[in-house]
Symmetry: C2
Subunit: 254 residues, 2 copies
Amino acid sequence: MDTRIHLTSDTTCHHDFKTNCNNCRLNTLCLPLALESKDIDALDAIVQRSKPIQKNEYLFHEGDPFNAIYAVRSGSVKAFSTTDDGREQVTGFYFPGELLGMDGISRNIHASTAKALETSAVCEIPFESLGELSARIPNLQRHFFQLMSREITEDQQLITLLSKNSADERIAALLLSISSRNARRQLSANRFRLPMSRVDIGNYLGLTIETVSRVIGRLQKKSVLQVDNKEVEILNFEALTEIAHTKVSHREAS
Amino acid sequence: MDTRIHLTSDTTCHHDFKTNCNNCRLNTLCLPLALESKDIDALDAIVQRSKPIQKNEYLFHEGDPFNAIYAVRSGSVKAFSTTDDGREQVTGFYFPGELLGMDGISRNIHASTAKALETSAVCEIPFESLGELSARIPNLQRHFFQLMSREITEDQQLITLLSKNSADERIAALLLSISSRNARRQLSANRFRLPMSRVDIGNYLGLTIETVSRVIGRLQKKSVLQVDNKEVEILNFEALTEIAHTKVSHREAS
DNA sequence: CTTGCTGTTTGACCCAAGTCAAAGCAATGA
DNA sequence: TCATTGCTTTGACTTGGGTCAAACAGCAAG
């Protein structure tokens, strides 16, 4: 049998209520989506919940053996990989209800490092067990395929953003992405706190911090945003959307 | 006009011998990898082979209902998506033994368009059947998870390339990628024909055709490459590798 | 052969974003 | 209280690669 230390719901006693996938507020976003209650119980049985991890703590490192994928329960996490020459590339920010670590499946080794941007709680989903369960629950298999596929399409959107869009467009697109992910969790789409630093934003979007800062300044001057350090308020949603989609007259391709 | 072609197993009679996954030269690269012979037969039973598709014909279009993924058997294919404002972003080039179309799983609609760069043959793998088969053959499920994960890691490498590297580095990296994929298929790593146009290269790498042309010119002047239109010879592999990894003194991040 | 079409190369110029430098502004803590 | 440390902002300057334009090369059709 499985020799991993088993975290029973007992270890979650620190919390006010017994956490499980069935009563998790995020189960309409996360892996349990579209599962029947009994299937959620089966999934729940393999999911391990840990006590919160602190800001700047790591969930896993690039090169670590891959055993599990992770779902963010609260807080936020950034994933990044390190290039040959030691530079980092932030490949994603993950919010509650979102899954990370799927890039480790291909070589059975984590391809990126995951670091908490703030105090966060995560669910660990052992991949071996998830595979077995998927083989028995077609809906789970399909849904997991879909989540991996979504990661692919999101990466491809980022590729397009980096390849074709100006600094202003990139920043606008990131803010809109965060906004819509907030909305998905019933939080304000117009007012939120950025959990990541300017450095992280710049790194993610392929820009320097100076450019990030200047763009944000520019958007404030245009009354599109109101930014106080990490607190963001979108004053003009329309305008921001407009900026994100502005076509810079590139020549047509292929 | 819709140039899509209809794939039925009947159409494979045109070939000299019965093609199947078991005797396919690519079965050590493709989906059958690591399957036992009888499992390969099961996979083979769901795979549909078509007669070759011509240059510039489409395999599927962005927005089409998603039913199958595709494996390139010969030739080459490019995938691209179209942005709101009508510009294209090439998201990948696919060579024999490589799978494409996995970005369609998430929304059950193809997220990109696939177009043959030259006369090519592909295998169509109905996704529904692949899911069922995966549930019965653990190795197949695992391998397919791995192939999707590889797509993710490769997209993330492209993200890093676009976000952090100069034009020279991007071109060098692409050439090395094509070279190593050729080697994987027992073809020359030093001499090959680029199936895609300069426009496609530029589009993929986030550069204009002029820049692509200039960089290639520069690499020829340095005797790293010998290029005649689409024919490429790598004269100095070391140097090319060096160029691909050159650290442009960016400031450190995060 | 010429004409037209499509893709590639080359040159001259320009600008968005990178670089360098310095100042501002929290938060922490002795 | 005032250093200390780590962001973030702002300004002045530079540059890689984009833009525009023109020439060139390959190839198919007439």
